[in-house]
Symmetry: C2
Subunit: 568 residues, 2 copies
């Protein structure tokens, strides 16, 4: 009864999966994105931005793992009863933008945009319902040179951000390779479209679930730790093996790149690999294997192009040998070969056997990507260095972005097909990576707090004086504030510490009415804190104390504050 008389307070809390951003996060993300923007601009991409809300129909339903309608997307009805949605990525809105402005745009149209996107999903650790993506897309270029360019740009971005060569790799696959392999195992044709998507989504879980988990999802189904059962794609053993072989390419080549030959899984049926013991530069010279692969590659390479031998062509050769060839698979391999040739021409990947050989970009048939709308090359930017997971175990940092070709997405709005390809960076993932490697870009974002001018006397004259001191500092370009609360001197100094200020300026009546004219006390808060921890027996204690706080004529305020701010 009495409870009803207590005024109900509103809970100060955010809905789950949503977070606030602190100053250091904002500054670091801004610095990171400015760097990315500069690389994108260097590649001739220009900025464009779309609003957060679109017609639900315009966005379409291309999210992975969303089987029920409307799931994954925040939607609501407009006044005119039409459904609106918050964008769930930046690709679908770009497709709408290009279709709407098709005749105005110079094509091929290269553009980039950073923006928040929304997923109405169950949040988890590091998984939010609002997160930022940074996308770059080329629309109107059918040539896979556009795909190659985007992969090279992603690699340049990562290096511009301070990620060392060898600590990252941009992997490239092709949906046509995946489709071709599925066709080869009897999953071709329009009537198998749904099943192919199920297969792709199962394969996309390889990093998380491993070979056994994916095998289960490709077969009858899988029961997870919580006991929930996910129905599988119901493939037979002979259909499952080739798909797992595709996935194993990536793992194997990662191990080879790291020279961890002993860890390569030989129990796994792996017809394209000689035993790991033979994986050394000399083994590439095996004339019989090379001849067979070159022949296989020529099947898909009617121009009879000569390939320099590389990881990429090695893989493409193996792919050509491994599966029964069909047009889709051949087209996929041919496009990847063209991409690999561009990489070689621009030095993004090197001929095998070169000194200090580190791949920046790599052909890797294990890349899947969960989004439904990809139609050609797909990419994944991975960081290969290790960090500690929540349990303190070393884990590979993993993906920070990806993308691919989506030739059908703009065509949803238009009569003719419009080729397009793009890449999306997960901003907070990448920021976490920069933190992990202590990138200078993140470190530089930590700024000192402003100079705090204490307010000791609150009569009109003192307040006006304090305001003048603050104005003088600001006028000289020094961030400064007057203490605006009601606390005493000690609390004001604590406030300055909490703000991470380097300098506090104090003018009590003693200083203001000093015989030789007004004075100010200038306090170096960092030195002051060190002094408080040090012992008075130090020979230089008095000198230090004098440096930590000193008085100066008011006219010298700006100059002396600058001196302290310049201290290391």
């Amino acid at each position: 009864m009495t409870e009803s008389s207590v005024p109900t307070r509103v809970r100060a809390t955010l809905p789950r999966g949503l977070v606030d951003r602190a100053p250091a996060d904002i500054a670091a993300a801004d610095a990171m994105m400015a760097k990315i923007r500069s690389v994108y601009a260097l590649y001739g991409f220009e900025a464009v931005e779309t609003p957060f809300i679109e017609y639900t129909e315009a966005l379409g339903k291309f999210l992975p793992d969303q089987d029920r309608p409307n799931e994954g997307v925040f939607s609501f009805k407009d006044d005119d009863e039409q459904w609106l949605s918050l964008r769930y990525d930046l690709t679908a809105p770009l497709a709408r933008y290009v279709a709407e402005n098709f005749d105005k745009l110079a094509k091929p149209y290269r553009s980039y945009r950073a923006g928040w996107v929304f997923r109405n999903e169950k949040p988890g650790p590091g998984r939010y319902r609002q997160f930022m993506q940074f996308d770059a897309d080329t629309v109107g270029a059918a040539s896979v040179a556009a795909d190659a360019e985007i992969c090279m740009m992603a690699a340049d971005c990562l290096e511009a951000l301070g990620i060392k060569r060898g600590d990252y790799v941009v992997k490239v696959n092709n949906r046509k390779v995946l489709d071709g392999v599925m066709e080869a195992i009897g999953l071709g044709g329009a009537n198998n479209a749904g099943r192919r998507l199920t297969v792709l989504r199962a394969m996309d879980k390889y990093d998380r679930l491993g070979a056994d988990g994916v095998r289960a999802l490709l077969g009858r189904g899988r029961k997870d730790e919580s006991g929930d059962f996910t129905k599988g794609a119901d493939l037979g053993e002979q259909q499952i093996e080739p798909l797992l072989q595709l996935l194993n390419f990536g793992t194997t080549f990662d191990l080879i790149q790291r020279q961890e030959f002993d860890s390569v899984d030989v129990s796994f049926p792996n017809p394209f690999l000689t035993p790991p013991s033979e994986w050394n530069p000399d083994a590439y010279g095996d004339p019989e294997r090379m001849r067979r692969k070159a022949q296989a590659l020529q099947v898909v390479n009617p121009q009879n192009r000569r390939y320099d031998w590389s990881f990429g062509f090695e893989i493409l050769g193996e792919l050509s040998l491994l599966f029964e060839m069909n047009q889709t698979l051949a087209a996929g391999i041919r496009e990847l070969a063209e991409i690999e040739a561009t990489f070689q021409a621009t030095g993004f990947t090197a001929t095998l056997g070169a000194e200090d050989f580190v791949e920046r970009v790599r052909i890797d048939p294990s890349v899947v990507r969960g989004l439904e709308y990809y139609t050609g090359p797909v990419f994944e930017a991975e960081l290969t260095f290790e960090v500690k997971d929540e349990a303190g175990r070393p884990v590979r940092f993993g993906s920070v972005g990806g993308g691919g070709r989506y030739d059908g997405l703009v065509a949803r709005f238009r009569e003719e097909p419009v080729p397009a390809t793009g890449f999306s960076v997960g901003v907070s993932r990448l920021l976490a990576a920069l933190r992990a490697i202590d990138s200078p870009i993140v470190a530089a974002a930590k700024a000192d707090g402003p100079v705090v001018v204490l307010a000791l006397d609150r009569d009109e004259k003192s307040m006006a004086n304090t305001q003048r001191l603050v104005a003088a500092l600001r006028g000289a370009g020094i961030a400064a504030e007057m203490y605006l609360g009601s606390a005493g001197m000690n609390a004001q100094l604590k406030y300055a510490d909490k703000r991470k200020s380097r300098v506090a300026v104090i003018q009590g009546s003693n200083e203001r009415d000093a015989p030789g004219g007004p004075q100010v006390a200038i306090r170096d808060l960092k030195l002051g804190a060190e002094l408080a921890k040090s012992t008075k027996d130090r020979a230089d204690y008095l000198e230090l104390r004098q440096r930590a706080q000193f008085t100066a004529p008011e006219a010298e305020l700006v100059e002396r504050v600058r001196e302290v701010l310049a201290r290391p």
Copy 2:
């Protein structure tokens, strides 16, 4: 019948009231916001950002002109049946943030944030359903020194953006003055709260509807052009007049500031003003009026403070004479006097009679602000220069931002009251203003397009060569791209023009296989366009043509492109 066989295309269009942003808009807004941020940082404010989605309850309902529940706000239900909303401003989320992190934050807490907000309203010209605000707030400072600081910061921002002194003014009023006047005319007490809000919202329409429109809304009601009738506040004539007098303060002082004494409306009952013919600096010396105002001010000024005479104190003196004094009105005038004293101490407003007297900030009792949650000082930043409206008539540019004190907003979440004040800039309004005055900040945002390297031959060797040229330019920090489409040379040059590129680089087989080693043709597209328009009879035609396109050894590519880019 045949229609059903045509595949249904999705419409490529945005919901009404939403727009895309072009590169020049994004660059200009970014440059503008970087400048604002630098001023905010100079004042000791730090960045913080909240997500776009909050609990509907946490945001509250404080929008003006929204009488039906949920109107004005985009809302939707979460999985757990709780209502979520897109934020409609940045103040309500900040209040939630401060309440949630109260003990962690150093107080007074100065912060800023730029972000998109959403209104589910009828869009109109320049009125969107998604728009950007840039806010600065001080939480935890009860002193109106915090309000004064924010007004000064707003004025500094406008000047930093290139808006000349005299072309803007930040006006300050106090809700307590408005409440005090309403109390004086019999609208005091809790039972009149709703009516007071109706009165404030009517008064807030003064700029748009003029004195007659507001008079109607304060009385029986008003029929607009479309014939729709809005019910009024039902005040009597004797209640309406004082409110209109308050509003007329602003107009009158604007006219005086512009020295347009003849335009002051003398037909209007205006007891505090001598006739405009007497409005000249000498008139301020009228000893009898000054004595009466000083006496009136002393009533609300128990500390017997001596005021320098200024517009601000003139107005406060008049206010003290004009209305029957009550505690609310006295408190409002006292706070405004303290703010005016700060302005004077920091030189943001000058003593009357000073040479070249231009007010940057001004006490103005006509400022209302439509938001319900204000509890003390309210501000409005106005640009006073004229622009042409849609019909080509000169109109004053008007408001680009505003704010005020909202001591009750954080208290919704907590047991104790938490004082707070803030200011919000309408980003696109301000950007339009910078465009109107041709601010260098906006002009600098227009960048040239990238260097376009034409792709003439599409065999593997040529493509690899072109890629190498592009990579060389990018490596030298020059934005460059390879033409990725399938068009011929002329179309490629047109593409470069459309991209606003300054330079095109051409390497056909003639250049590549030149006897002395590979060459490149470098084309100055700007000069080329001028040349096309000029006559061949010009004496320097050949020299110009040589400058517009020339060949150079491939090794000099970067150097020669740089030369052309450096041309005026």
